[in-house]
């Protein structure tokens, strides 16, 4: 299929040129580019299409990470699939084994470059993740003074919300826009997991423990609240709804439910 004389070529430059002249290398490169494009499109177009509406700081960070990771890993995934696809196009048919290939037992530089590159990608993922975690923690600390405290209580199989500062209790999650909110989550029985979908946060509800999740709703609209931890017979039905509202609407909702606006 290709000539392998390049191994005898003396200079590294010439060897590189010869390498790219080989049809198997060209074909593998072409497939790599095509597969990379597939993964990039998947990341940029399809993922955001499938996710629910981005309605908070955390949801935005989550979407950024998933799309970003997909796009960054696309060349590596593309290379893996490129080499595999090239091998398939070069397949051997018949009932007897194929002729012997070249006896390549290893290739030091290739193993080294592969390891270093995958290490760098791992490092990018780690640094990115830690940076996002850190900025979320900083924002949560900065916003904690003005935060709206919502006590979230899970019990088999309903959610209830207590706005302790405002004297209101509800089975719907109502939140004002652009105000930090701190969910203090607990359970009356088994483990549940509080998941307001569009807000991109989730934290387990444990009996006699209070766990905390915080976010800032940034967009008006309805919220779906679900339970993400199998909690017994009617786990699937442990869901409710909610709404991110303007501050005025929220205040009106509070007062009309017998609470007081702080």
């Amino acid at each position: 299929m290709s000539n392998h004389d390049e191994e005898l070529t003396p200079t590294p430059g010439q060897r590189a040129i010869n390498l790219f002249r080989r049809t198997d290398v060209q074909r593998a490169l072409l497939f790599t580019i095509l597969w990379t494009a597939v993964f990039v499109i998947l990341g940029l177009y399809f993922y955001p299409k499938w996710m629910p509406e981005v309605m908070s700081r955390d949801m935005k960070a989550m979407e950024r990470i998933i799309v970003g990771f997909t796009v960054i890993s696309a060349p590596i995934a593309g290379l893996v699939m490129g080499i595999a696809t090239q091998a398939i196009t070069n397949r051997h048919k018949g009932d007897t084994p194929p002729p012997d290939g070249p006896a390549i037992r290893t290739n030091g530089p290739v193993v080294m470059v592969w390891t270093v590159v995958s290490g760098i990608f791992c490092l990018i993922a780690v640094v990115w993740g830690i940076a996002e975690l850190n900025s979320m923690a900083l924002e949560a600390t900065a916003g904690s003074k003005e935060a709206l405290h919502v006590q979230v209580i899970g019990s088999q199989w309903v959610w209830s919300f207590k706005y302790t500062d405002l004297g209101v209790e509800s089975d719907k999650l109502m939140l004002p826009i652009n105000r930090p909110v701190e969910f203090e989550v607990t359970s009356e029985d088994v483990n549940h997991s509080f998941w307001p979908l569009q807000l991109g946060v989730k934290v387990d509800a444990n009996r006699l423990q209070t766990t905390v999740a915080d976010t800032v709703p940034t967009k008006l609209g309805p919220i779906d609240v679900k339970c993400a931890e199998l909690c017994g017979l009617y786990h699937a039905y442990m869901e409710t709804s909610g709404k991110v509202m303007t501050t005025t609407d929220f205040n009106n909702w509070v007062t009309s439910n017998g609470g007081h606006v702080a």
Binding site: D189, V201, C231
Partner: protein, 621 residues
């Protein structure tokens, strides 16, 4: 220690130690004694006037019955005759040992306490296929129920039980899917050994596992397992009597894996053929050994978690009960300290099988044996440091989320090495597209998708959204089913001629391959979408917004189901009536292909002497 001799094993009289008790015992006597023990325990532990009224009396009696069944069965099949004789100072006679090895007993030896590793391998193979069939059937029921929104087919109680039973059946089956059949049948021959290091423990590992199967099935008649396979406390403490079956299954299974792990590890360490240095050991043997060696420290924590679940349920000990100072997080830790290494216990042998297959079918040496070892070792080492990534959102010490994210993402580097080895091996080769080789290409794709989605999940902010959703379910099916199970099926296609003496039916095999792999992509693509859209996992009913993604998934599931039925037919039909296989149909260089079928009792007439690794393919080798 070496046990190799240049003595011929042929022309030996068939042993018939008529007066010995071991000739009278078999699976039937095991079942009879086991059932007697179970009933005796059940009635012995019934509530009496003093203790009546406590809610946990039923749990006590049921758990005792299940555990006594296991012990009774093992006594009834003769598992303890050897140790007992040894205790009183008389070991089994040579004739009795040959009898135990099943010499000359035909099909009967598969129903006895047989120490021949090849018999144990076949027992595991049949057992695993049965478990996968049952687990797969439950998966089909789950997907049928999820075909349309609203959950009209199956009630919530049955659905939750199906999820739990499917989960634990498949996990148990997948843990043994490669190391059970191939680790027992093929691996000793591959390293040039006459048998395993501890043949009686080998038989024990299978028959202990066997006793767990009826225990697990009994859950159906006791109200099911409503907790998922994770069996989180306090839900598991609250659960009904079926939960006892889960607890007892894990306790029994943990003993089986400990025995098997110790035996396989000892065999590879001590019984390799002369000249088989560590860098000449076939890569499947390395992967399988790392897998079982990883299970040895991992499973005891699961066992401990189950002991505490049992005592919480029976004696109100409150290990996991927050009301009396316990914590559900304790359970989660014990569970996942086993749970994450366990994922690699499942995955490593599957990948190692493909690395064994690739050089044979491209006629090239394995690319960078050292990178493969580093990949396996790196994964095994890191896998014990990542468990709390399953607990990012549990609320347990959020400050440790960062460190666990780092260790988890580091696993991508050794995993990358495994890809490099597979790709390097096929590069510049002409792959011979037989069934085993198709598996390699399928796994490259499936593991890639499983791996990339795993990186999202390892990231804390992304996991905040994706945790507990269908996305997670799709991710781990890509790694466990798409990679590990496909690898094991490739192994079955590869070693089928050696294990059965016949070739696997190719047209049926190809058809099964395309049905399962295409169906698999459709099934879990739909599930990825459902998860990204925000559908929680383990729900009997879902909102109309997830209608299309679930419909796609269910369609894919039916294709997978059809594919596996065809595969099952192909295996059964080929085993009975397939073409007679030549001794070495693939032209491979590992030792198992140097022995005839049926493989002699002690495998080799002449002890093999190893002078190179088994990958000397290619021009210039």
């Amino acid at each position: 220690m070496t046990t190799l001799h240049n003595t011929s094993t042929h022309a030996r009289p068939i042993p018939n130690p008529k007066k010995s008790l071991i000739t009278k015992l078999n699976m039937g006597t095991g079942i009879i004694v086991g059932v007697i023990f179970a009933f005796a325990a059940y009635y012995a532990f019934q509530p009496n006037a003093d203790t009546a009224g406590f809610y946990n009396q039923q749990n006590k009696a049921l758990l005792a019955a299940m555990l006594f069944w296991s012990v009774g069965f093992l006594i009834g099949i003769g598992a303890f005759i050897g140790p007992f004789r040894w205790l009183i100072g008389k070991d089994l006679t040579a004739e009795e040992q040959l009898y135990l090895a099943g010499d000359g007993q035909g099909i009967k030896r598969y129903f006895k306490y047989c120490t021949d590793h090849k018999v144990v391998g076949i027992q595991y193979l049949v057992g695993v296929m049965a478990m996968l069939a049952v687990g797969g059937g439950m998966a089909m029921m789950i997907r049928t129920s999820l075909a349309v929104p609203g959950g009209h087919f199956i009630g919530a109680s049955v659905y939750n039980s199906l999820v739990g039973m499917h989960g634990i059946t498949m996990i148990v089956a997948m843990i043994i899917v490669a190391t059970g059949p191939f680790g027992n049948y093929i691996m000793p021959i591959m390293i040039g050994a006459r048998d395993m290091a501890f043949p009686r423990l080998n038989a024990l590992s299978w028959w202990v596992l066997f006793t767990a199967i009826p225990v697990l099935c009994s859950a159906w008649f006791l109200g099911g397992i409503p907790t998922g396979w994770t069996a989180y406390a306090p839900l598991s403490v609250q659960a009904g009597p079926g939960m006892n079956a889960f607890v007892a299954t894990i306790l029994i299974f943990a003993v089986s894996t400990a025995v098997a792990g110790m035996n396989i590890t000892s065999t590879v360490v001590a019984m390799r053929a002369k000249g088989m240095k560590w860098n000449r050991v076939p890569i499947f043997v390395v992967g399988a050994t790392m897998s079982v060696a990883l299970a040895i420290p991992a499973f005891p924590t699961f066992m401990l978690a189950m002991v505490q679940t049992a005592t919480d349920r029976v004696f109100n000990t409150g290990f996991y009960d927050a009301n009396v100072g316990g914590s559900g997080w304790l359970y989660a830790h014990l569970f996942w300290i086993m749970g994450h290494p366990e994922v690699y216990v499942i995955l490593l042998p599957g990948i190692a099988i493909l690395m064994e297959i690739a050089p044979v079918f491209v006629r090239k040496p394995l690319f960078s044996y050292n990178a493969a070892i580093m990949g396996f070792a790196g994964i095994a080492g890191l896998s014990v440091l990542v468990w709390a990534h399953h607990m990012y959102i549990s609320g347990w010490t959020p400050t440790l989320n960062g460190p666990f994210m780092v260790t988890t993402e580091m696993i991508s580097v050794p995993t990358g090495l495994l890809f490099l080895v597979m790709l390097g091996t096929i590069w510049r080769g002409k792959p011979w597209m037989k069934l085993p080789m198709l598996g390699l290409f399928a796994v490259i794709w499936n593991l890639l998708i499983g791996g990339i989605t795993g990186i999202y999940l390892s990231d804390v902010p992304a996991d905040n959204y994706l945790h507990g959703s269908m996305f997670v379910t799709a991710h781990f099916h890509y790694t466990l089913m798409g990679a590990a199970l496909t690898g094991a099926v490739a192994g079955l296609a590869y070693w089928f001629p050696k294990m059965t003496g016949r070739m696997l039916n190719e047209p049926a095999g190809y058809t099964a391959f395309w049905f399962t792999q295409i169906g698999f992509q459709v099934l879990f693509l739909g599930m990825f979408i459902a998860g990204a859209e925000g559908q929680p996992r383990r729900v009997v009913s879902f909102a109309a917004m997830y209608k299309y993604s679930n419909m796609i998934s269910t369609g894919g599931a039916y294709l997978v189901g059809i594919g596996f039925i065809i595969l099952l037919w192909a295996v059964i039909h080929s085993w009975r009536k397939g073409d007679i296989a030549p001794q070495n149909p693939w032209g491979a260089k590992t030792l198992e292909w140097t022995v005839p079928y049926p493989v002699p009792l002690e495998n080799f007439d002449e002890a093999p002497i190893i002078t190179s690794d088994p990958y000397g393919y290619g021009k210039g080798n």
